[in-house]
């Protein structure tokens, strides 16, 4: 099984491991991530203004490329996923954006939202299946108490992202369970880490990650996992906080394909 794959800027730089572990794990699970050609940065944040078109075009280009290959489009970084999924929704449902974007793009076949956008977690849950994943685990992460950090971008707005219950999600907990570890549910797992505010207002962002970290360790978590390099960066700002790792690192470890990948 082959999926089109959109890595995004950070996965080519600071978060290379997030990408490398994912690819290795995918092969171990019997599917392949094929990077789309000439992808461009998604912009990091979804342009909220209903009159912004140009800032959505890089997503449309990626979506159209996947469509042309007849594949589903897989993402890893929460921010890329959020932007691309929402632009896709616009292309499906907002006639004005669809028309104007296609006018800019001049594609051979206009893009109208045909591509299905999947986050890597959704591939694991809905395509591979957590039961099947559990069977492929060679190094069960027994005894590890892991808190899942979802953040905002994967979950909200719930209607469009349709990723999980935005107030009480479970996909990452199920994932942790499939790897043989013990998920720790804590209430701030879907609260904001501060996002881009951490560039100029470190203190404010730190106050927010402190709350998250404290909540997770209060419930007995020993580490946190995340899908987003920015969440990880922010969560690491908390002094003496729990270690934060990418979920793909745990996945690769459990599947026994971690060796040889540069951390």
């Amino acid at each position: 099984m082959k999926y089109s794959y959109y890595p995004g800027c950070t996965l080519k730089n600071k978060a290379k491991v997030l990408d490398a572990y994912a690819r290795a794990s995918a092969l171990a699970l019997g599917f392949e991530l094929e990077e789309i050609r000439d992808w461009q940065c998604c912009g990091g944040v979804y342009p909220l203004g209903s009159d912004e078109i140009a800032t959505k075009l890089s997503s449309v280009r990626a979506l159209a490329d996947a469509r042309d290959h007849g594949r589903e489009l897989v993402t890893l970084c929460s921010a890329c996923h959020h932007v691309i999924k929402r632009v896709n929704d616009d292309m499906q449902n907002v006639a004005d954006i669809r028309t104007r974007a296609n006018n800019y793009m001049q594609l051979d076949t206009p893009y109208t939202g045909e591509t299905n956008v999947l986050h890597f977690f959704e591939v694991l849950r809905d395509r591979v299946g957590f039961d099947a994943l559990a069977k492929k685990v060679v190094n069960p992460l027994k005894g590890k108490k892991i808190g899942a950090y979802y953040g905002c971008l994967l979950l909200r707005p719930g209607e469009i992202m349709a990723f999980d219950d935005p107030e009480n999600p479970r996909v990452m907990e199920d994932f942790i369970r499939a790897l043989g570890a013990e998920p720790v549910v804590y209430p701030y797992r879907n609260e904001c880490c501060g996002g881009y505010i951490s560039l100029k207002e470190k203190e404010m962002a730190t106050r927010m990650t402190d709350t998250i970290q404290e909540s997770a360790s209060g419930f007995g978590a020993e580490m946190l996992i995340t899908a987003c390099p920015l969440c990880r960066y922010n969560l690491n700002m908390t002094a003496n906080g729990l270690p934060v790792v990418y979920f793909t690192e745990l996945l690769a470890e459990a599947l026994g394909v971690k060796e040889g990948i540069e951390a």
């Binding site: 342009p47 505010i197 920015l230 960066y233």
Partner: protein, 132 residues
């Protein structure tokens, strides 16, 4: 068009850019109960609506809240009336940024803000949010 005041034009623009309808608000305050940046804001999320309705755009545009909203969408998710306070404040931010000199982040500031762990994504996002 000359008899339409600037504030009226801006209020209309906010409605258009945001796609939100402030008239739907029932003033329940759930947005302000939800907002993780509430304490940092001078104009609170539940007040955005009345500022737009009263055409008090200048005050909204001058507020700190513009730069404190995290776009975490929690208020949008939980709003029982589909008012979307985050979109209102974001539209106000865009009105400011689309005017000359409205940028909140200058490339000159960047070197001092960098650290070795900082993900590229953060710079990209901040540029998108803070500048035209």
């Amino acid at each position: 068009m000359s008899n339409v005041s600037k504030t009226e034009r801006q209020a209309a623009m906010i409605r258009e850019i945001s796609g939100a309808n402030p008239a739907k608000c029932m003033k329940c305050g759930k947005c302000s109960a939800t907002c993780p940046a509430f304490d940092e804001m001078d104009i609170k999320p539940h007040q955005f609506v009345s500022y737009v309705q009263d055409g008090n755009i200048e005050a909204l545009a001058a507020s700190k809240s513009l730069w404190k909203c995290l776009s975490c969408f929690a208020c949008i998710e939980r709003c029982p009336r589909n008012v979307k306070p985050a979109k209102l404040i974001d539209a106000a931010r865009q009105i400011v940024e689309r005017e000359k000199g409205g940028d909140y982040l200058s490339p000159d500031e960047i070197p001092a803000l960098l650290d070795p762990e900082l993900p590229q994504q953060l710079l990209v996002s901040a540029f998108r949010r803070y500048r035209r």
